[in-house]
């Protein structure tokens, strides 16, 4: 089994109102110098064959029309 993490976020150029809202909220709490906030989704899974995860993303985990995805294989010791 391999443990993998899939990070899914709105594609560049697509308005992300959640990201914008967070970006506006942080300075209100005193955190200055924050920009380009994007809010996405995280999927963690254990798979027999990690090479299939990209296809899983294309078909279900992400909508490639509007979202980018990034697959991170997790070190079993760290997971």
């Amino acid at each position: 089994m391999t443990r993998a993490r899939v990070l899914i976020r709105p594609k560049e150029g697509i308005l992300d109102p959640q990201g914008q809202t967070v970006e506006r909220a942080l300075p209100a709490l005193g955190f200055e110098g924050v920009g380009h906030v994007r809010v996405g989704r995280l999927v963690e899974l254990e798979v027999d064959d990690v090479s299939q995860v990209a296809e899983m993303c294309e078909k279900l985990l992400a909508n490639p029309l509007i979202e980018d995805y990034e697959i991170v294989e997790l070190d079993p010791a760290a997971a």
């Binding site: 308005l15 109102p17 959640q18 279900l60 909508n63 029309l65």
Partner: protein
């Protein structure tokens, strides 16, 4: 003329859709788990929160057994109307162009809007006149239609935008004020407003009935 209205776990507007259809023809519910359209002449994919909107709106529903049959029916030219969550499902299924994103204001919206009939010739709008305004409610959180620039340009150029929010009334930031978009062949239409909630003057408007009336007229009795 028989309408079929799909019911998914989490659908909530299927009964209103069924009653709207029943004003213009026979109508029955189609269960998501049955790969069978029971010989209906038109399919309505209704609003709601199919499969709890888990993962992404419409993402799971598109894989349900009934959707394989809906896709086959659509490819064969059968009329399919997707309303709100149904629109989202049809986009996820690749039967309609683009996708639905969260409203720019991030809020759930529930209000009446005016939409303009951009194309009157379709199976869904033949009872309407071009440029006619319809008063129909919207109620959604994820209704901002979006498509990549090349797709959006081709959708506009080929006249697939059947319904547009009236100027100044775009509630969700939808690209090009798109309220309803059809496939290239014109037999599949998705829209965010809810025509099934506007079929009786008692609830404020009967304008939504025109879409069901159009569909009933599109299919030979």
């Amino acid at each position: 003329m028989k309408f079929g209205v799909v019911r998914f776990p989490g659908s909530c507007d299927e009964v209103d859709a069924l009653q709207a259809c029943a004003r213009y023809g026979d109508a029955e519910l189609l269960w998501h788990g049955d790969a069978d359209l029971r010989g209906v002449d038109a399919v309505v994919v209704p609003g709601g929160f199919s499969y709890g909107d888990y993962l992404r709106v419409g993402a799971i529903a598109r894989f349900s057994p009934v959707m394989g049959e809906v896709a086959r029916f659509a490819r064969g030219g059968g009329p399919v109307l997707g309303i709100c969550n149904g629109f989202q499902v049809l986009c996820e299924a690749g039967l309609l162009p683009g996708a639905l994103l969260p409203n720019t204001g991030l809020r759930f919206l529930c209000r009446r809007v005016e939409i303009v009939v951009e194309r009157a010739g379709t199976a869904f709008t033949r009872a309407c006149a071009e440029g006619e305004r319809l008063s129909i409610p919207v109620k959604h959180t994820t209704g901002r239609w979006w498509a990549p620039p090349d797709v959006a340009a081709s959708v506009e150029a080929s006249g697939q935008v059947a319904l547009r929010y009236a100027p100044g009334q775009n509630p969700n930031g939808s690209l090009g004020d798109v309220a309803g978009v059809a496939n290239e062949a014109g037999n599949v239409l998705g829209l965010m407003p809810h025509p099934e909630h506007a079929v009786d003057p008692l609830t404020g408007s009967a304008d939504g009935g025109r879409l069901f009336e159009s569909l009933a007229a599109a299919v030979p009795a």
